[in-house]
Symmetry: D2
Subunit: 320 residues, 4 copies
Amino acid sequence: MTADPVAPRHVLAHLGPHAILTPTIDETLAYFVDLLGMDIVHESDDGYYLRAFGDYERWSLHLIRADRAGLGYASWRMVSPEALDERVQWLEANGYGGHWTEPELGIGRFYEFLDPDGHAFRLYYDTERYVAPEDKRPVIPTNFQSYVGRGANVRHVDHLNLLARDVRACREFWEAGFGLRTYEIIRLPDESEAGAWMSSSIQGHELIYTQEKTSGSGRLHHFAYLVDTREEVLRAAEIFTDARIYIEAGPSRHTAIQGFYLYTREPGGNRIEVANGGYLVFAPDPKPYIWTAAEWAKKPGWGAPIPPEFHIYGTPVVDE
Amino acid sequence: MTADPVAPRHVLAHLGPHAILTPTIDETLAYFVDLLGMDIVHESDDGYYLRAFGDYERWSLHLIRADRAGLGYASWRMVSPEALDERVQWLEANGYGGHWTEPELGIGRFYEFLDPDGHAFRLYYDTERYVAPEDKRPVIPTNFQSYVGRGANVRHVDHLNLLARDVRACREFWEAGFGLRTYEIIRLPDESEAGAWMSSSIQGHELIYTQEKTSGSGRLHHFAYLVDTREEVLRAAEIFTDARIYIEAGPSRHTAIQGFYLYTREPGGNRIEVANGGYLVFAPDPKPYIWTAAEWAKKPGWGAPIPPEFHIYGTPVVDE
Amino acid sequence: MTADPVAPRHVLAHLGPHAILTPTIDETLAYFVDLLGMDIVHESDDGYYLRAFGDYERWSLHLIRADRAGLGYASWRMVSPEALDERVQWLEANGYGGHWTEPELGIGRFYEFLDPDGHAFRLYYDTERYVAPEDKRPVIPTNFQSYVGRGANVRHVDHLNLLARDVRACREFWEAGFGLRTYEIIRLPDESEAGAWMSSSIQGHELIYTQEKTSGSGRLHHFAYLVDTREEVLRAAEIFTDARIYIEAGPSRHTAIQGFYLYTREPGGNRIEVANGGYLVFAPDPKPYIWTAAEWAKKPGWGAPIPPEFHIYGTPVVDE
Amino acid sequence: MTADPVAPRHVLAHLGPHAILTPTIDETLAYFVDLLGMDIVHESDDGYYLRAFGDYERWSLHLIRADRAGLGYASWRMVSPEALDERVQWLEANGYGGHWTEPELGIGRFYEFLDPDGHAFRLYYDTERYVAPEDKRPVIPTNFQSYVGRGANVRHVDHLNLLARDVRACREFWEAGFGLRTYEIIRLPDESEAGAWMSSSIQGHELIYTQEKTSGSGRLHHFAYLVDTREEVLRAAEIFTDARIYIEAGPSRHTAIQGFYLYTREPGGNRIEVANGGYLVFAPDPKPYIWTAAEWAKKPGWGAPIPPEFHIYGTPVVDE
């Protein structure tokens, strides 16, 4: 990749709206609305636009009717219009050129491109601050809308985990081009990597890549939605249980980043996490912790065993 | 009161269904269903029958349309038909005779009478174990219905606080006639009592009497509904805030019994608590802790100040 | 067993002091004091007497120096001296006669006998209410001592799980002789039982028997200590992890009784649980839920997988 | 202030070590060690250096023996040596020049200067990553030391509140010179400000100024230490209560930033908060919410009343 005259450290502000493909749009919608507690903002020809009560932007999730489950796209809001332009130039100069797409419901325009594993990402700066309608106006004016208190009651998206055939290439792409900081890496004996946890902020993870073990590419491992407390993760387990939603793992605690997790599959097949916690990194000059395969295999610290499918399953589902 | 040949220690099993009067039946219903998370079991000519997800009986709350707010009745389930008959005899022998009422929706028949301050109470034994319809069947068969996860998500009624002009007389009535154990008393210099916390079980409070400071009688101070954690009490505060429900006090912690509380008024005016915790009493021979007025005034331990209205307001509202 | 003219329903008040044998008395003491947060009341020739901050009695745990780990004894406080005498008569009339032992540090005298699987139990009524020394006097006078806030911060013992070669015989022994209520049973195709959860109160479990799968008898599965919240169970996992204490299972949630658990082994080898929650049973006439083996094998509801050793390991450790 | 050619947005990394003056060094030390759960790193001629278990640096608090309570200094770690040099130049060019001080126990050298109200601040970049001794080595290598689990169990400092005669001047100083973002302001009718909540990161508050209502200057309102959950704030209230520490306010929830709080005074008189939560700000272009005095007076949302002394008391204590 070309050397970059401008240090890209502070160019990404936060994860923005994302799109999820589902073959069962009605059931998937019910999962996000009734069980996660999100609200419908708009019904479109191809699906629905949703928001969570902690989103400052107008919407954050586009559910798209499709033949099979998978990632539509992920996105980042940039810190400024200049940062957006510069990063687009960098992408185009480095063989990752994409295209601009029109604004959608107050957010965008977007520049869409593919990461090294073929996942679609969008960059944007322009957005619209959500103004709640009268019946959802919050009492405290620094909130964006009234508290939901329905189902798992998710506040906003927390992080994103993608599968990649070359985790290291993906990590280096985001570090070099966008200044993401990497907090943990699993390094295998052949110097390839089994996982990388990256963030644009003090939060321990925003974007994770873990090893793709099938012939697929561009696959989604999971989106994680934040709840305010570990207690709400435990409550979510009750809610999913009685709603007959498949719980793949948790509630328990991860070793990497130390977040508290609960993994389900929404009815369309995409893995969705309800998450709380994970450490914060305050140091301005952190070094990633590099796990050897042997050390990682021991999984120090408490936490339930993770089922083998957790390391294989992704969407779209592929023959191995 | 007449001496009782049979020790009445284990005659009350638990608080049963209660009725609340409200002048705003629609808004009150919405409060209990949308904000507390209860379900409608039946609509009747005079109002609604509701249940909470942790009730093993078919229903637990009767909302009754009325001119003004107040207590309809409270009730106790007896441990056996024999205990019911014996206690009715005791009531009738001691000047508290009432009358039998017909079964309602699977619970009863009831014997209804008035306590020394004029609050209606019902005793019953016959009841119907709730069988959830297909869409509310719980996954774990020891649960009574599926988890609700809506609003404050109350599990069942926890305790009941009545105002009484003669707290001591009320306390002695329940001790002598029904074997309630008293865990805490506030005793004033004139030997009258400002409060008494009583229970039929190891839980620190089921029935509380506190001093009536107006000319009223038979008034309700509050019903408390249990949530599973203190975190859920804090969540409830968010829910009530944005629903524009008046919060009178809390979330905070009481000195007596040490429960964590949040007091609101349902739209009809009745005070409703969302509660968690309070100590358990395992000793088979406990002595009540007797607070002097001076000691009580200091309110040892942490906890927010209680507003003066908490000690005056009850339903029905009366001129002082 | 002989028919009993007096219904034994309310004869046991609560689990009382217990004794645990350990081959590593110093390390075991450090586990209970530094990690669980208990206090030493007395050092004796054979070990130590400890208390938890929520105990109303003077002490609740006797750690005894021994060749190998295991149960010293469990105990029950009786509701009255009369109940104690009657139940001793019943034991002696039914072939379970034992002997009286002297008071220890303000509790007892005790009647000690063996349950059908050979576990030592003690019954007693006389006890001494703990009076905290000046430096542990609580601010709220209804507490027994000041709050500890050290390590896992256990409040008191919650329940006891014993292994038994004939679970059914043990269950029937306690039901017939002491009126324990059974809330859940796992029934095998041959009518034998793999587990029984019993209680003297509204709490879902005080005494559990599960199947002994080795040639041993009289073995301890675990003692469980209560913490106030699920959050404290999660905190305890951090504490045990960094103290290099073996965590066998959890934190997670059980299907039976639905308590939140964390299982460790104290350094002497006895399994100790840190527990919170579990349902309450208010009905005066509950029927046990009877799991078939097939239904139990599915383990409905959320919760981490239990490792196989959980069903085998007990103390003393025996060759299978 | 001079216009600044380099945008100072990302120059402060996080709050660093601070010093607190106390006239009761032994009791203050016991407060921080036994009740907050901090560890002593070093005893010096003038007092003690302490750390919390979540600090990545070697120490974070210097307790200094003094005639009266108050702030020694607060500090910021800079993102780079260059940022440190540039900001020192800016200070000197704008009349806030100070002096360099020698490194202390692995941190520094420091540049010390006074903010517009006369509070001492230090800037530094050089630091030493803490290496735990053998007996405090954590099991998970991304932790800095083993989990403490003692007392309130604070993880690290969360934010700092200073009193200022001219809040607005202080706010503008940090915005112009150091790029702090301001998330909330209370603006009075005369355009002066009663409070300003600022941060260098997505966390809602790191540095707060509120109105000095006495003749004092350079006074400390409080330091806040983070605990992991609201439950731990509630536990801390138990701990402080039985330790006879004065609780000024809470546990409850603030309207500004919405953090959960508990305010005590350490024995030397400085106000210390145990805190959890508060919103995060992800937008790269946030506008501060500006409260009018009238709107602020209503304090929308739940939360206990704050006592009047909260708005007056600071250290050092001054005659009004």
